[in-house]
C-alpha cells in the first residue's frame, strides 16, 4: 500500500537527501504520467518538469502513519503486520466470509481507503510473498486459491517481484532470466549454488510451499466479537445498540468456556482511519451483558464518532473461571456478585483507586498502619489491639499549647481542655533505611464541650493535632 496524499492536483514529489544528493523519494500519479519516478535526482526532475511541487520526505512520520493505518486494519483481521516502509500484510484466512467473501471484502477495503484518501494496491493470495508480488508487480486483486492457477498469473512477473536483493535481480537479468516463470522450474541445486539458499526460499514462499509467519501487532485476545456496519454510526443510541450486540456475542463465547471477563476492550474504527479504544475492568469474573454494559456507560462518552464509526471490536483481554450455574449459588454469593457489580460501577466513575477497603498492616506508626486494598480483595489480617484511635486521622497540624496546659489553639479556635488521657509512647519504625517518625507521645484530649482530639507531643516538645475521635 502506498500513500500519496499530495497537497496539489499537479505533479508532486517528496524529496530526500541521500549521499549528498536530493532525490525524489515518492511521486504522485500525475508526476508518473509526466515521466518522473522515485529515485531520480531532484535537479533532473526540476529540469524536466519545472512546475513540479515538492516537499521533504518524513520517513519517521510516514512510518508512524503506517503503524496507525495497520492498527486501523485490525478491524478486518486481528493478524496485521506492518511490512517494510510502505506495506501492510494481513492474514484474512477464515475472516473473509464475515465481509461477504473475498471480492466483497476487497471492494469494502478499497472503498474505505479511498474515503481516507489513501492510495492502495491490494492483493489477496495464498501466501504473503505472492500477495506482495501481485500487489506491487501484478494487477492486484484476488489471485486464485489453486496454486497452479495462481502461478499462471505470477509466472510473468519480473524476478524483482520475488523480493530479492538488487544484486541478485541484476545477476539473473544478466543471464536472461527475467521472469519468475523462467526460474521457478529450474533445477534447484545449481540455482542455490549460484544465488544462495535465499532465492529458493523466496520462490517457495511465493508458491506457498514454505510458511511465512505474520506477527500480529497486538497480542490477540482469544475472546472477541466484531461488528462491521453497513452504514457508519455516530449517535450514542446507535453505538449502544452495537455494544449490546457485541456484548451478547462475547458473553456467549465466554459462557461456552465457563469463563467470565475480567478486562474488556472496546475498539471503534472510524471511517477516517482513527481508532479509539476503551478499557474497563471488573472485580469479579462477569459475563452478564447487562452488567458489562453499565461499566461502559460513562467511558463511552469519551468516544468521538467524527464522521462515523464503521466497525467495532470487543475483546475480553483477560477472563477467569466462572461458576456456571450462578443461579444455584447461595444467596450470600448472589449478594456478593451484586455488590461486586456495584463496586465496578463506582470504580468506573470515581476511579479504580478511589474505591477501596482498609487492611491492617500491624504497624505502630499511625499513618502507616493501614493499606488501601481493592474492595474485593480478601482481608487476611486482624486488627491489632491498639490503644484508643481516632475515627478521622489528619496530617499532623501544629497546635499552640498554652504553658498552663489547660487550653490549646487549633485552626484558630481556642479549646479549653477538660480531661486528658495518656501518654501513649509511639516509636518510629525503620523504613527505607531511616526512621519514619521520631518518638511521639500521644494524648486523648476532651475539651469543654466534649470534642475529643488525638494530640501528640513530638520529641522536640512541639504539639500536633493528629486526629479526632
Amino acid at each position: 500500500m502506498r500513500r500519496r496524499n499530495s497537497p496539489t492536483t499537479g505533479p508532486f514529489a517528496l524529496t530526500q537527501a541521500t549521499a549528498g544528493t536530493f532525490r525524489l523519494s515518492a511521486v504522485n500519479l500525475m508526476a508518473i504520467q509526466l515521466g518522473l519516478k522515485a529515485g531520480m535526482p531532484l535537479a533532473d526532475a526540476m529540469a524536466q518538469i519545472p512546475r513540479l511541487v515538492t516537499a521533504p520526505a518524513d520517513p519517521l512520520g510516514d512510518q508512524a502513519a503506517l503503524e496507525r493505518l495497520a492498527d486501523w486494519c485490525c478491524r478486518w483481521s486481528p493478524t496485521v503486520q506492518v511490512d517494510g516502509a510502505d506495506g501492510i500484510v494481513m492474514d484474512v484466512y477464515g475472516v473473509t466470509h464475515l465481509f461477504g467473501g473475498e471480492d466483497a471484502m476487497l471492494q469494502q477495503m478499497r472503498a474505505s481507503f479511498r474515503r481516507m484518501q489513501v492510495t492502495t494496491r491490494i492483493a489477496f493470495a495464498a501466501s504473503p510473498a505472492a500477495a506482495w508480488a501481485w500487489s506491487r508487480y501484478g494487477a492486484g486483486g484476488s489471485l486464485p486459491e489453486d496454486r497452479t492457477a495462481a502461478f499462471e498469473s505470477l509466472k510473468d512477473l519480473p524476478v524483482a517481484a520475488l523480493r530479492i536483493d538488487h544484486d541478485i535481480v541484476d545477476a539473473l537479468n544478466g543471464l536472461g532470466l527475467k521472469t519468475i516463470g523462467s526460474i521457478a522450474n529450474m533445477a534447484r541445486g545449481p540455482l542455490a549454488k549460484r544465488f544462495g539458499q535465499g532465492l529458493l526460499a523466496r520462490i517457495d514462499m511465493l508458491m506457498a510451499r514454505q510458511p511465512e509467519p505474520i506477527t500480529p501487532r497486538v497480542p490477540q485476545a482469544p475472546w472477541r466479537s466484531r461488528a462491521n456496519l453497513v452504514e457508519p454510526v455516530s449517535t450514542r443510541d446507535a453505538i449502544d445498540t452495537v455494544l449490546d450486540y457485541l456484548l451478547d456475542a462475547l458473553c456467549k463465547l465466554l459462557a461456552d468456556e465457563h469463563l467470565g471477563a475480567r478486562q474488556l476492550a472496546l475498539t471503534a474504527f472510524r471511517v477516517d482511519g482513527d481508532i479509539q479504544t476503551i478499557r474497563v475492568g471488573t472485580s469479579y469474573p462477569s459475563r452478564s451483558p447487562k452488567h458489562l454494559k453499565r461499566l461502559f456507560r460513562d467511558p463511552l462518552d469519551s468516544i468521538a464518532p467524527g464522521f462515523g464509526i464503521e466497525s467495532f471490536t470487543l475483546e475480553a483481554l483477560t477472563a477467569d473461571p466462572f461458576s456456571a450455574d450462578q443461579a444455584s449459588l447461595e444467596a450470600t454469593q448472589q449478594d456478593d456478585s451484586r455488590f461486586a457489580e456495584l463496586i465496578d460501577r463506582l470504580q468506573g466513575r470515581l476511579g479504580a483507586r478511589n474505591v477501596f477497603r482498609f487492611e491492617p498492616l500491624g504497624r505502630h506508626t499511625p499513618e502507616n498502619a493501614f493499606a488501601r486494598l481493592p474492595p474485593m480483595a480478601r482481608s487476611n489480617r486482624e486488627m491489632p489491639d491498639y490503644d484508643p484511635r481516632p475515627t478521622r486521622l489528619i496530617s499532623p497540624e501544629p497546635v499552640e499549647m498554652e504553658t498552663t496546659g489547660d487550653a490549646f489553639t487549633w485552626r484558630r479556635i481556642r479549646r479549653r481542655i477538660a480531661m486528658t488521657a495518656g501518654p501513649e509512647r509511639l516509636h518510629g519504625e525503620w523504613k527505607n533505611g531511616g526512621m519514619d517518625i521520631a518518638g511521639r507521645d500521644y494524648f486523648q484530649v476532651e475539651d469543654e464541650v466534649g470534642r475529643r482530639y488525638w494530640l501528640f507531643r513530638s520529641s522536640a516538645g512541639d504539639w500536633f493535632m493528629h486526629g479526632i475521635f
Binding site: L350, R357, F469
Partner: protein
C-alpha cells in the same frame, strides 16, 4: 397471580402517602435505646429509606460507626466521603470492623450523590453513608426511591437544611463524658409522618459496643456532689 387484597392495596397506598413502609418497619435499625426507638415508626430507623444527620463532623462519624458497628444485621457499610481521613483503627474500636467497610472517595458532591443512589439500589443487606455539603429536594427524593427498591438504608451527612425526603433528621453534637469515652448529644429534629422529637445524651459502652442513655455530665457531677 399478582392480585392484591383490598387491605394490602390500601396499605401500599398509605405507605406511598406517608412514606412509611411496613416492610421497613420489620427490618429497621434500632438505636438500641428504648426511649428513643419508641418515638420512631417501627421502633427503629427504617430501612427502605435514608436518614439525615447534621452537626459536628467528628461526633457524626463516631456515632455512625457505633450505630452501624453493633448492628449485626448490617452486613456491609459503604462510606462515601470527600475527605481522605477516615481511620479504620477508630472505627474498629466502635464495633465497625475494617472487613465490613468499603470507602468511596470523590471530591464532587454530585458524584457522591450519584454513588449513594447507585449503592442504595444494590446493597439490600447493607448501609450507605454519604457525606455531602448539600442536597436539594429532588436529589433526596432520588435517594429515597433508590432505597425503596431494595430495602437498603442510607445515612446522609449534610450541612444544609433544605427540604428533604429523609425519613428522619438528627442533630449530633459531642457531649462531655466522665472518662474520655465517646459521648454524644442526639437531637431528633424531624420524623417523616409523625410528630416526634427530643434530645438525649448517649454514652458508648465499650463492653457491649452499644449506647447507654445518660444524664448530662454537669448534672451527673451535681448528683455526685450532693
Amino acid at each position: 397471580m399478582n392480585q392484591l387484597s383490598p387491605l394490602t392495596d390500601l396499605r401500599s397506598k398509605m405507605e406511598r402517602i406517608t412514606g412509611i413502609s411496613r416492610r421497613a418497619a420489620v427490618a429497621g435499625v434500632p438505636i438500641g435505646v428504648a426511649e428513643i426507638d419508641a418515638l420512631l415508626p417501627g421502633r427503629s430507623l427504617a430501612r427502605g429509606g435514608f436518614h439525615e444527620l447534621l452537626g459536628d463532623q467528628g461526633a457524626i462519624t463516631s456515632f455512625l460507626a457505633a450505630l452501624l458497628g453493633h448492628q449485626k444485621t448490617i452486613q456491609h457499610v459503604l462510606w462515601i466521603t470527600p475527605s481522605a481521613d477516615l481511620y479504620p483503627g477508630g472505627f474498629a474500636q466502635l464495633g465497625l470492623s475494617h472487613r465490613r467497610m468499603t470507602i468511596a472517595w470523590t471530591r464532587q458532591t454530585d458524584n457522591r450523590l450519584w454513588a449513594a443512589e447507585e449503592a442504595l439500589k444494590d446493597m439490600p443487606g447493607g448501609a450507605v453513608v454519604a457525606e455531602v455539603e448539600q442536597a436539594d429536594l429532588t436529589e433526596t427524593r432520588r435517594l429515597q426511591l433508590a432505597a425503596e427498591t431494595c430495602g437498603s438504608i442510607g445515612f446522609l451527612v449534610r450541612r444544609d437544611r433544605q427540604p428533604s425526603a429523609a425519613l428522619t433528621r438528627w442533630r449530633i453534637e459531642p457531649a462531655r463524658s466522665l472518662d474520655i469515652r465517646p459521648c454524644w448529644r442526639l437531637t431528633l429534629e424531624r420524623v417523616r409522618g409523625a410528630e416526634a422529637g427530643g434530645t438525649w445524651v448517649l454514652e458508648f459502652d465499650n463492653a457491649s459496643l452499644s449506647f447507654n442513655l445518660v444524664a448530662e455530665v454537669a448534672d451527673r457531677s451535681l448528683e455526685a456532689a450532693e
